[in-house]
């Protein structure tokens, strides 16, 4: 009888497959090491009994709005973390020019009086925004205008324009926190944008070789997000979209157009409309957003879209998408922090290419160009895992997280249902990087990544942590 692959001596196994399996085992070992010790953490916390809340300086804002963001009840027990979090929540509303929380001793020992001092903002809120999006590349919103707290009830009405590497558009939004006194926020967004999708012909892996295809989308969305208590773990969005897909492809800096292959055409005639429901549950227990050293970030989302009926074609006009994204941060030794991420996505084969999954780039699989590691027309399945060791690079800085280094290892694969997946098909990359927290912008990220087994270095520059 012919021996199976498992019975063969190691030296007879295919070298590439063995190397990747070894990489994966090493990766799994590190993941286990990082997660195991930090599953339970008991921490003794000093607390005080909240005797009273005084609010000063609110000429327009209803006191109830401030109470909502404080999320603390008179007579309840409060901790230092709770007060800090409340201060940050209040500041993040941008309703006030300044906001300050002061705690002073209460009438009895162990009691405290919280005084909230705010200075109202009279002008609309002007905002400049920029960043790097996994899908759209670099973007810029040079001026966004927001009318906050219109009637003193915490409403927001805002308009922003977006221009970028592969996106342009405008968004008009209305946001009503604590809808009808509940723990839910309501959002209404009207958005129109043009996105350019990247496609790589067979064998091409550089941006210059890629073709661009425009997708025009108009969307009206209603979202409900929990903001405190149990509801804060859940969010929901209902939307209707009208989508037009260009039937031609164009190369950057090249005026010549070519017809898009069938896999890059919309499932129905242009423009076609969809209605969609998005449900998500998420958790965030990170101790710090900029440089988390402990905690979890997790999300499980499910989305179902229904196309406009087309009785003539009699096609499957629905698709669902499920995405699981889990991240863990754990101190390992002294200031050495381990971070791991596991992401899996699945979508119906009937879905159009612009809803599907992609891999490659600074925010997903490092060592590869943006969205280059997926089949033409994108993938219906995607898995991505990353492990990072993060550490401060300067002992002189008071805030050690301002200048940090990282060693990373990424592994991922994007495929279609027809492809059989196994470990030997995993795309992997490893490398090192630095994170510099600079004024105004925040974390600037520079990674030098090596795809395995080619080891051709690629430099990634982006903002924020990778995950």
């Amino acid at each position: 009888m012919k021996p199976t692959a498992n019975q063969l001596p190691h030296r007879h196994r295919p070298t590439h497959s063995r190397r990747l399996t070894s990489h994966f085992r090493r990766f799994a070992f590190w993941v286990f090491l990082l997660i195991a010790p930090g599953l339970v953490r008991a921490q003794e916390e000093r607390t005080l009994l909240l005797e009273r809340i005084d609010i000063e300086g609110n000429t327009k804002t209803v006191a109830g709005v401030i109470h909502n963001y404080l999320d603390m009840e008179v007579g309840s027990t409060i901790s230092r973390d709770m007060v800090e979090a409340a201060g940050k929540r209040l500041e993040a509303t941008r309703f006030f020019k300044t906001s300050e929380l002061r705690l002073s001793p209460g009438t009895e020992k162990g009691q405290a009086v919280l005084t909230v001092i705010v200075t109202e903002r009279r002008w609309p809120f002007f905002q400049f925004k920029s960043g790097y999006n996994e899908l759209d590349g670099w973007y810029l919103s040079p001026l966004g205008i927001r009318f906050d707290n219109l009637l003193g009830y915490g409403n927001r009405l805002g308009l922003e324009f977006l221009i970028g590497d592969r996106i342009s558009g405008a968004r008009l939004g209305y946001y009503r926190p604590y809808l009808l006194g509940t723990e839910y926020d309501l959002g209404l967004v009207l958005e129109g944008n043009d996105r350019q999708f990247l496609h790589y012909p067979e064998g091409a892996r550089e941006l210059d070789e890629a073709f661009f295809q425009k997708v025009h989308t108009s969307e009206l969305a209603l979202s409900i997000n929990g903001n405190s208590g149990i509801p804060r773990f859940f969010s929901m969005k209902l939307s209707v979209q009208a989508v037009t897909v260009d039937s031609t492809l164009r190369r950057r800096g090249d005026n010549e157009e070519r017809a898009a292959p069938g896999v890059l055409l919309p499932p129905l005639e242009n423009p076609y409309r969809t209605g969609r429901l998005y449900l998500a549950t998420h958790i965030d227990t990170r101790d710090n957003r900029a440089y988390p050293s402990r905690g979890w970030w997790g999300s499980l989302s499910w989305e179902h879209a229904v196309f406009q009926e087309d009785s003539i074609l009699n096609r499957d006009l629905k698709y669902s998408r499920t995405v699981l994204d889990l991240r863990r941060y754990q101190p390992i030794w002294k200031e050495l922090v381990g971070a791991v991420r596991v992401k899996y996505g699945q979508i119906s084969e009937a879905s159009p290419f612009f809803e599907r999954f992609y891999l490659g780039g600074p925010n997903s699989l490092r060592g590869y160009v943006d969205r280059s590691q997926n089949p033409l027309g994108y993938a219906s399945r995607m898995t991505l895992s990353s492990a990072e060791l993060r550490f401060p690079l300067s002992a002189r800085l008071k805030d050690r997280s301002r200048f940090t280094g990282v060693l990373f290892y990424d592994a991922g694969f994007a495929w279609n249902e027809s492809t059989t997946w196994n470990f030997s098909k995993l795309k992997t990359g490893m490398g090192a990087g630095v994170r510099l927290r600079i004024p105004v912008i925040g974390i600037l990220r520079v990674d030098l990544a090596y795809p395995i087994p080619d080891y051709e270095p690629r430099l990634h520059i982006s903002l924020g942590q990778t995950f």
Binding site: F128, K129, N133, K237, Y278, H282, N363
Partner: protein, 205 residues
């Protein structure tokens, strides 16, 4: 009577101030009572969770000539969570479980200065001046620009799990108000001073 005075006015007198040479010879001892450092306004500042900065300046003169300048800075605060007062300064941290113990610390404050003994004649004209400035901080003092620069507002994906979107937002209103608004008077201070004349030598503790 000791009175806290507004900024720009003459400082109030610091009580019990005296200067003496230690019996060992190379050390000067400056003593004063810092009880007014815990005035009502200071206490209310501390209890509202804000720190008070104390800046002590000592000048030593012989024959009317300034021979030595010394400076000490303290940061005094109250930690409501630990229910204790904290004093940081000169590389040390002192913790006081209540206000009375903090008051006792200040009531007979000893400041040792290395000042080698000089000729007997010059020693007769030994003197100096101690000044204290208490800065009662408000949370906003000097913070706006620093906050605007360093409290970067980094953004992450808005729909969890879908697209990784890392970026930043800039609050233009704060920048405009920093550039154009008039400076708020957010700092208050109290000043104290006393002239020092040399007393007979004391045995160094």
């Amino acid at each position: 009577m000791l009175l806290a005075v507004a900024q720009g006015q003459e400082p109030a007198t610091l009580s019990g101030a005296e200067l003496s040479r230690s019996a060992a010879g190379d050390t000067l001892l400056c003593r004063f009572s810092g009880e007014p450092f815990l005035s009502e306004s200071v206490q209310s500042t501390l209890l509202s969770g804000l720190p008070v900065l104390i800046n002590l300046n000592l000048i030593i003169r012989t024959d009317g000539q300034i021979r030595l300048r010394e400076n000490k800075r303290f940061r005094m605060s109250y930690d409501i969570w630990e229910d204790q007062y904290q004093l940081d300064g000169a590389g040390e941290r002192y913790l006081f479980p209540d206000l009375e113990q903090l008051r006792a610390f200040w009531s007979a404050f000893n400041w040792k200065i290395v000042f080698p003994r000089q000729a007997e004649n010059a020693e007769k004209n030994l003197g100096g001046r101690i000044t204290a400035k208490l800065t009662l901080l408000t949370a906003n003092q000097g913070r706006e620009l620093r906050d605007w620069l360093f409290n970067d507002n980094q953004t992450e994906e808005t729909s969890p799990g879908l697209m990784r979107d890392t970026g930043f937002q800039l609050d233009l209103n704060s920048l405009i108000s920093l550039l154009w608004s008039s400076k708020n008077d957010t700092e208050r201070s109290e000043s104290y001073a006393a002239n020092l004349t040399a007393k007979p030598a004391v045995k160094e503790e």
